[in-house]
């Protein structure tokens, strides 16, 4: 498999961006991840991850509209690129194929 390696955190950020469909930027991504996973995430971590994803070509960004609570500053809005989408897809497929080969998933969970 020839795809760029994605860290677990990057994957979650990428998924979040994908879910938000064009409305994703630093603060809302942070809040969303906090809400969905319950882990404490800091803004700088999100920014760093977004930048890495952009460097890898998984997301692209453009500047959005300024708002009052931002002190009149614009936000950088992220969208997932085709490459990013395909990568997510591949990750998902790999996972699913493993899950499918697991004969007794219930047993696994109870034994955990």
């Amino acid at each position: 498999m020839k795809r760029t390696y994605l860290g677990e955190f990057e994957e979650i950020v990428l998924l979040t961006v994908a879910v938000m469909e064009g409305g994703a930027y630093g603060v809302v991504i942070t809040h969303e991840i906090v809400a969905q996973t319950g882990r404490s995430v800091r803004l700088n971590q999100i920014h760093a991850a977004l930048q890495r994803l952009e460097d890898k070509g998984m997301v692209k960004s453009e500047m959005g509209e300024p708002t009052a609570e931002r002190g009149g500053r614009r936000k950088r809005l992220f969208t997932v690129t085709a490459y990013g989408r395909r990568t997510l897809q591949e990750i998902h497929e790999v996972r699913v194929s493993f899950w499918n080969r697991l004969l007794n998933p219930l047993k696994l969970t109870t034994s955990l």
């Binding site: 603060v27 803004l43 700088n44 920014h47 760093a48 931002r70």
Partner: protein, 868 residues
């Protein structure tokens, strides 16, 4: 209500965050803050904001956007600079051996150069710390006629007062006199003999920057028995008690009340004492019970006072001295030989009284050496980097072909030099720090590396920048000027092998070394000469000390007692220390003295056994006999007879002060001062009441016992006073202490300079051997002998060294003749010295070069031929 996030945190963010990211990051942070204010309240949100901002101090947020433009005309472009540093570092690490040689040379050169310059700066700082130093002058006078004409740095007392009163140019005056009168001070069981004190006008504390830290500046001496102490002196007596108002007991029911404390006199002050007594006390003591009518306002005959004048800015010096002379002559018309002169205070330390060069010569000599050492270190760098430039011609050519501009390549090599220099500078600072204690001991200074002192940084900065500029420009120009096509075809080597410039530098380097070696020889020869020169008296194993009143009165008993001690062979006495006679007088007369003529003689009262004691030679006439008639007899030295132009002196009449008598003898000239000075007229007279100095000749074996016996005898009469004695040999050595120090320092610096030169030569030789590996291999295969190859490699360098010797000899000869001018008694500069120096330089160079040559010659040709 809209709350804003902490301003300081925002400012911090704009400071470090990359500009192209700032907007989104700050926007997000503000939005988050807004959200958190609603969630947590303002106070915690502010904390959280700080926390979030700090989180962005990460490379991803700080890193600036790389510029997309490929060609930039701007030389200092950040990414280009980064590249320069990277390549510079790589090349330094790649050529470890040469970097090490360069670094060692530069570090040693910089450290020693800067240390010398610090010394020089300290010398120049003398007496300049006074705010008014530019307007303070020392008043001196020319006195005497003919060969006796000389400068006295001390003047009569009234001239200061009258000058200040009558002449508007003189703002203020300070008179200072040495205090030998009140030396013993006691406080609560502590008794200290203070040898280093002075009498002064109260203006001492206002004209000079010696401010009182305790006491009343308007009236530092409330009465004659007031005393001002330095901090250290005050601590010596009173510890941590407040010294003001304390009583110091002196002798003879004298007592002094401490009326002020000043900071210790700075180390770079020509005036440095421990205590200051009011000069009016000296006047009172001097002029009480005088029958000749002299007092402090009319005594124009006692030249005992150092006078400092504070002048109005821009006052005419020559006018002023004329006016002072007029005042003097009005009060004492027969002083026609006297003229006044003024020496600026800052010149006092480095120039002699008449304004001619004194210490400045040494300062200049050392400045030149510092410069030479730095130049030699720079030459090393320039030579090695240009010699090895051939190896980099390909790199340069590639860069040019890819599109590097000449200016960029120039920058690249300048940065490379800068990097090496910075490393060397840091190491040099460390080295200086380590060397400083030894250096201080050697130079007799108390220098400190005070990194808070801007003057230190000025010197360090100027030195480093100066050497950097000197050694970076030429190699950088040369390297950046290669023509790529020629260089890639290998044609550059032909041009470089000419390298006249490099040869010139090597010659210069070795010329300096030869000069330094020759100078070292001559200086040490001269120092040896003055120490071994026949003094005209025998001072070996002689111990001397000054008696006080009581002991002097019982001299005969003391002498008999001492002669009984084991180890004592003879005892005698005189009025002063024979190694360094002090006082001088022009108050004399003889048959044949012309009107207006003044001859200054050094009068010494001696006992009848003084001349045999010191094994002096009586040339004519006889010694004193110990009878009453001696008090009207004089013995002159040869110089005095010559200066007074007396033929057949025996039996001629002579007057010294009020003492009239006849000349009974002539003694052979003897040296009673440093060899820098000519022997001056001296006269012996006989007056037991003035013979304070006691001399004991010992066998040399029982010196300790003799000292103990002398001390016992001394304490018997003066239990209060500490016994202070010295061996004449030590006193004599002290005369040449500064010369010895200079000589030693010169040796050390010269060795370092030579060492650094050799280091450079070593590097060059290594390089040459390396480049010629293949040639040597081929020669060996064809049958060349090892000696033949060594010759081949060494001859080139030897030629340069020989040229250097030829150039250096006349320069060294000139410089050393000038240095010797300073000594009245000196060696001739002999030619063998230069021969020896040249030979030594040649040997050193040969040794340095041959190490590499032999290595190259012994190499197995199979290996060397296969290597390329």
């Amino acid at each position: 209500m809209h709350t804003t996030p902490p301003k300081l945190a925002d400012k911090l963010l704009t400071l470090f965050c990359a500009p192209h990211r700032l907007e989104e990051v700050q926007g997000d942070l503000h939005e988050e803050f807004d959200y958190q204010v609603r969630q947590l309240g303002e106070r915690r949100a502010r904390w959280r904001y700080w926390w979030d901002v700090l989180g962005f101090i990460k490379p991803f947020a700080i890193k600036r956007q790389s510029s997309d433009t490929y060609s930039t005309a701007y030389l200092m472009n950040a990414s280009m600079l980064r590249n320069y540093f990277r390549t510079a570092w790589r090349s330094l690490v790649k050529n470890r051996f040469y970097s090490l040689i360069n670094m060692t040379g530069l570090t040693a050169g910089l450290a020693v150069g800067i240390l010398i310059l610090l010394w020089v700066q300290d010398e120049f700082s003398f007496d300049r710390f006074h705010r008014q130093s530019a307007n303070i002058y020392r008043l001196e006078n020319w006195a005497g006629t003919g060969s006796s004409r000389q400068i006295w740095t001390s003047t009569v007392a009234p001239i200061a007062v009258m000058g200040k009163k009558e002449l508007p140019e003189i703002k203020d005056a300070v008179r200072i006199a040495y205090n030998g009168m009140y030396t013993l001070f006691k406080y609560k069981g502590k008794a200290i003999n203070e040898e280093n004190t002075l009498f002064a006008d109260p203006t001492l504390f206002s004209v000079f920057d010696f401010p009182l830290i305790q006491g009343n500046p308007a009236n530092p001496f409330p009465d004659n028995h007031s005393i001002v102490l330095t901090e250290t002196t005050a601590k010596r007596y009173f510890g941590n008690e407040n010294p003001i108002g304390k009583i110091l007991a002196g002798t003879d029911r004298n007592a002094f009340k401490v009326s002020g404390v000043i900071r210790d006199f700075p180390k770079n002050s020509s005036i440095r004492r421990d205590m200051v007594l009011p000069i009016s006390l000296l006047f009172d003591t001097m002029y009480q019970n005088r029958t000749d009518g002299r007092n402090r306002d009319n005594d124009f005959a006692t030249f005992n006072f150092d006078t400092y004048l504070l002048l109005q800015p821009g006052a005419s010096i020559s006018n002023l001295t004329d006016k002072l002379r007029t005042i003097h002559l009005r009060n004492k018309p027969d002083d026609t030989d006297l003229t006044y002169l003024l020496q600026p205070l800052p010149d006092m330390h480095l120039y002699k009284a008449d304004g001619s060069e004194g210490g400045i010569e040494t300062v200049r000599m050392f400045s030149i050496i510092a410069l030479l050492i730095l130049v030699i270190a720079c030459i090393n760098y320039v030579n090695l980097s240009t010699a090895r430039s051939m190896l980099r011609s390909k790199e340069v050519s590639m860069r040019k072909i890819v599109g590097a501009a000449k200016s960029q390549l120039f920058m690249q090599f300048v940065v490379e030099t800068t990097l090496l220099f910075s490393l060397a500078a840091v190491l040099a600072l460390g080295l200086m720090y380590v060397l400083l204690p030894a250096y201080n001991q050697l130079s007799g200074k108390e220098l400190v590396l005070d990194f808070a002192d801007e003057r230190l940084w000025k010197i360090i900065g100027l030195t480093i920048v100066g050497t950097l500029v000197a050694s970076s420009i030429y190699p950088a120009l040369l390297l950046s000027s290669f023509e790529p096509l020629k260089a890639l075809k290998g044609k550059v080597s032909a041009r470089l092998s000419e390298a006249v410039f490099r040869k010139v530098l090597v010659v210069a380097q070795f010329a300096v070394s030869v000069i330094l070696i020759a100078s070292t020889f001559i200086i040490s020869n001269q120092l040896q000469y003055i120490r071994a020169k026949e003094l005209g008296y025998d001072k070996t194993h002689v111990l001397g000390f000054f008696m006080r009143d009581d002991m002097s009165k019982h001299y005969d008993a003391v002498k008999a007692d001492l002669l009984n001690q084991p180890g004592v062979t003879a005892v005698t006495r005189a009025s002063s220390n024979i190694v360094q006679l002090g006082a001088q007088t022009g108050d004399n007369e003889w048959a044949g003295k012309e009107k207006g003529e003044t001859m200054f003689v050094r009068p010494v009262a001696i006992d009848k056994d003084f001349i045999p004691f010191f094994r002096m030679k009586v040339m004519q006439g006889a010694n004193f006999t110990g009878t009453v008639s001696d008090s009207t007899h004089f013995i002159l030295n040869e110089t005095a007879v010559k200066a007074a132009r007396i033929n057949n002196p025996i039996g001629k009449s002579f007057r010294l002060w009020k003492r009239k008598g006849t000349i009974v003898g002539v003694v052979k000239d003897f040296h009673f001062a440093s060899m820098r000075q000519k022997i001056e007229p001296a006269i012996f007279y006989y007056d037991p009441s003035q013979m304070w100095a006691l001399y004991i000749k010992t066998t040399g074996q029982d010196a300790k016992q003799v000292v103990a016996a002398a001390e016992r005898s001394y304490k018997q009469y003066n239990p209060d006073y500490p016994f202070e004695y010295s061996f004449l040999d030590d006193v004599f050595n002290n005369l040449y202490k500064s010369e010895q120090q200079t000589g030693l320092l010169f040796n050390v610096f010269a060795s370092i300079a030579i060492l650094i030169s050799c280091l450079g030569l070593f590097g060059l030789a290594t390089y040459t051997a390396q480049v010629r590996t293949r040639e040597i291999g081929v020669r060996k295969v064809l049958g060349a002998s090892v000696t033949g190859i060594i010759q081949l490699l060494a001859t080139d360098f030897m030629k340069l060294v020989v040229i250097a010797i030829l150039i250096a000899t006349p320069i060294a000869w000139y410089a050393m003749s000038r240095w010797l001018q300073d000594f009245a008694y000196r060696i001739d500069v002999q030619w063998w010295v230069f021969g020896l120096a040249g030979l030594l330089a040649l040997a050193i160079a040969l040794l340095t070069v041959s190490f590499q040559s032999i290595k190259a010659a012994l190499m197995n040709p199979v290996k060397s031929l296969r290597s390329e």
